[in-house]
Symmetry: D2
Amino acid sequence: MVRLKFSIELLYDIVDPTCDFIFNIHAAQTRYQTIAAEQLVISQPIHPLLHIEVEDGTRHMRLQARQAPLKLHYDATVDIKHHVESPQRLTEMPISALPQQALRYIYPSRYCQSDRLRKLAMREFGHLTPGYERVRAVQQWVHQRVEFVSGSSNDSTSALDTLIAQTGVCRDLSHLMIGLCRALNIPARFVSGIDYGADPAMGPTDFHAYVEVMLSGRWYLFDPSEVSPPMGLVRIGTGRDAADAAFATIFGAVKTYAPLITIEALVDTHQGWTLPRHCADLLSSADHVIPN
Amino acid sequence: MVRLKFSIELLYDIVDPTCDFIFNIHAAQTRYQTIAAEQLVISQPIHPLLHIEVEDGTRHMRLQARQAPLKLHYDATVDIKHHVESPQRLTEMPISALPQQALRYIYPSRYCQSDRLRKLAMREFGHLTPGYERVRAVQQWVHQRVEFVSGSSNDSTSALDTLIAQTGVCRDLSHLMIGLCRALNIPARFVSGIDYGADPAMGPTDFHAYVEVMLSGRWYLFDPSEVSPPMGLVRIGTGRDAADAAFATIFGAVKTYAPLITIEALVDTHQGWTLPRHCADLLSSADHVIPN
Amino acid sequence: MVRLKFSIELLYDIVDPTCDFIFNIHAAQTRYQTIAAEQLVISQPIHPLLHIEVEDGTRHMRLQARQAPLKLHYDATVDIKHHVESPQRLTEMPISALPQQALRYIYPSRYCQSDRLRKLAMREFGHLTPGYERVRAVQQWVHQRVEFVSGSSNDSTSALDTLIAQTGVCRDLSHLMIGLCRALNIPARFVSGIDYGADPAMGPTDFHAYVEVMLSGRWYLFDPSEVSPPMGLVRIGTGRDAADAAFATIFGAVKTYAPLITIEALVDTHQGWTLPRHCADLLSSADHVIPN
Amino acid sequence: MVRLKFSIELLYDIVDPTCDFIFNIHAAQTRYQTIAAEQLVISQPIHPLLHIEVEDGTRHMRLQARQAPLKLHYDATVDIKHHVESPQRLTEMPISALPQQALRYIYPSRYCQSDRLRKLAMREFGHLTPGYERVRAVQQWVHQRVEFVSGSSNDSTSALDTLIAQTGVCRDLSHLMIGLCRALNIPARFVSGIDYGADPAMGPTDFHAYVEVMLSGRWYLFDPSEVSPPMGLVRIGTGRDAADAAFATIFGAVKTYAPLITIEALVDTHQGWTLPRHCADLLSSADHVIPN
């Protein structure tokens, strides 16, 4: 088990008389990721509306702020005890066996135009044995072809753009991996979170984006950016792509500032809290499992 | 109330040893659209898996067919008693008041890149009074600018392409209207169905696509193609855009044929079954209503 | 006549052992724009290769620099005595009457995809009287729809992107105007230069981009950005679009710095040198005229 | 030497009162391709305007037809005696050594967005020895990745689309090869023509498109579609891409029919007329050679 403690601080200057926000900064609550402690402080006297998606534990918070600075400080301590599986046991599923809730993740979406990637995906991966090895090959392909370059993409950059440009950030690498998996009829989705264990040379701690792929009835983590051990990923949002899982969707005119994020791992051998580390097994922190 | 009787016949030659399909051809079951009778005949001895989305009544059918011709014949008689509302009473909703289930329909999707349409939408419609009049202005704008031309688009045509090309089919007009509504922060979604009452000069009866927009807590019908009275629209599928609501998603190599579709209105003054006709009120056939 | 004196200073740090450049910073030499004085200083001991395009007076300079800082300082004093014409006398030309050299400017190019703008162009401008009034309507349409926002576009932004985004810089507005003119079968091309008379609030003097349209056998200036009086435009490069007329095309790895540019108008009533000012007539500074 | 005899028949029904055309169907006249005989019959009493581009021998014909059927029948007998070169002797040229007329062919164009292909081109081909081998590697890469599928693209399909779709026709394969060459700073251009020796199973004789690349100061033929021996290619048009080299550009409303094309090789050992055949050497049929 890992225990991670993180904080997020967001600051906005609101220009319009009022401005609506949908935030997705709360740690997700799943069977494998539980909240030991959390706290949210909002600088304006607002009653936010918090909603949890039963299916994946994502928590959205809506609020309306007024024309003034708005500061949010959220911190949480989460315990993550992944479901761990040996890769060899995992297989791709026939369409007919997919859980109904996974179907939406085989269709193309805003940033993952899998419908246009079928021929490329079949050429590159069609001959590989279906299952973990094939998904791993997709992840490696994206990791090796797309160079991680901060600032190399923008809000409208899609998987097709990234395929051509061969540069991007974590969000772009994830979109391309998702697009290729879906083009192979493998359900894949976008997860936003915060990562522990990234190389400090990559810059200050920031939001991260990675991928979940359904194998043998369960969602497993894959990180095409490979910035940190998957064990160090705190789960926040889940969606088809970044359109669904932005940490903040803003409905009005505001001045934005860069988020301030910290994360640390709490280690205690008595409690069984270890440092996140790389491991050969596949990890899952999502709830959904095919009912027997 | 209208009673409509329709049939759909689909034919495929399957090339691969087996081929998975997800069909969405069953009439949706909602509070306002009920099934008086229906029948499905499949030419291969298959047990399809049928699933109903509780939220919008869409029914998906999955099946796996083998290397042979596959013929589906579905017919149904549906009774539609729309929720009817006077347009003047309908208003746009603040983000903070939207039902949670509507939020996914304000985000951009594969074919409706609302994130890139904000400035255009604000220029064209930002000055209009929020509410029905504004949504109606969007529908009229799309109807007047985009010429309905059969065969003028393809599977990858998106709202941005349609905005530039200024031609399209019902699916394209719907995508553009949805994209513009979302760019105005108005939830909008894609509905597939079959329409009664189209001009026979437009060609044989085919699948149709139209739009639902949330006003005052309820989804209302808008048809930017204006091919038939909204009262004559049989509801089949619901989704973010055509990626979610294809009548057939095919996972394998098949030869396809054009669908054969028929529809008729049953009229009986004793029963109260009238012909679909144009009316000034807005219609809703979807279930979702904000709970008080 | 106007006499304008300007200077351009460019600085690069060359990373590769050698690096090729194609510069287009010399004032064009045409019948209407002559060079009173000019000087070029290059910080490395290089013999550049200078070439003049006979057709439009553009001067390209090629050079190969070595791994070190490279500084270019160019200054010139140019006399511009435009061909001046009353707009009412100018007409669009039938394809059959266009000079051969104008034909390349009716085809689509990298950033001006006129082939996809035909329907839009016909809808917006097809009903207008061909000639100056129609071209002026295109220029106004672009000016009014596309907001000039520094930094709102990048190197790969095309006319279609600008049409959707409705923001851009001078280059983007020019590309959209060119695309629309060509879609109407009116030859239009891209001119790069430096402008005298811009509002200092727009930021420091920079390169500028504007449009030339062929009417009655001659190329006339149109500036959809309207940042300065057309009379204050020093002509440098000419091309189908920005791909042809970049001030620097760099073949290798270099660190670049923002160019430093100055411009001033020399006024002398004895010499007949006036300040650039707005006027109702159309101006041409290009050579090409249909031979009688 | 090869002697090829071909004919082109074009038919249009003109809807507008008059309609302008620019045709590019005449065999090009170069040092290596000469016209033994030719004849043009036009069904309407029109005086077309014929123009030859001095640089590459392309002949454009402009004409204005009236509201009636328009039929053109062109046939020609051409003698082609290619400049032949051993591949090993050919090298890429530094930018500083390129002839001025080649520079336009290193910039991106409508269908060949080389600016967006730099990173991909460098990854795939950057490590190869510059020269023939590298260009051949690009040609092979395109040939192997992009499947030739009739009808798989349309008028607006660009190199980026083809890179993603991995299908196309000769025009699309050519655009992608050109885009990749330019991204490597190698001048490359589009040639339209008619090919002798294609597999009859590919369908009736049609217009063809292929590529010319400048090596060692001369333009050499490369055909990424590999539909016929390069020796069997009759040269018609030359341009940056298909936007410049369409066989017909039409300015008005017409009904079009498929062109009818025939081609045959005349063989006469006395005269030295051989059948076009595959050979290991590189061929050039363009005029431009760097002056010593």
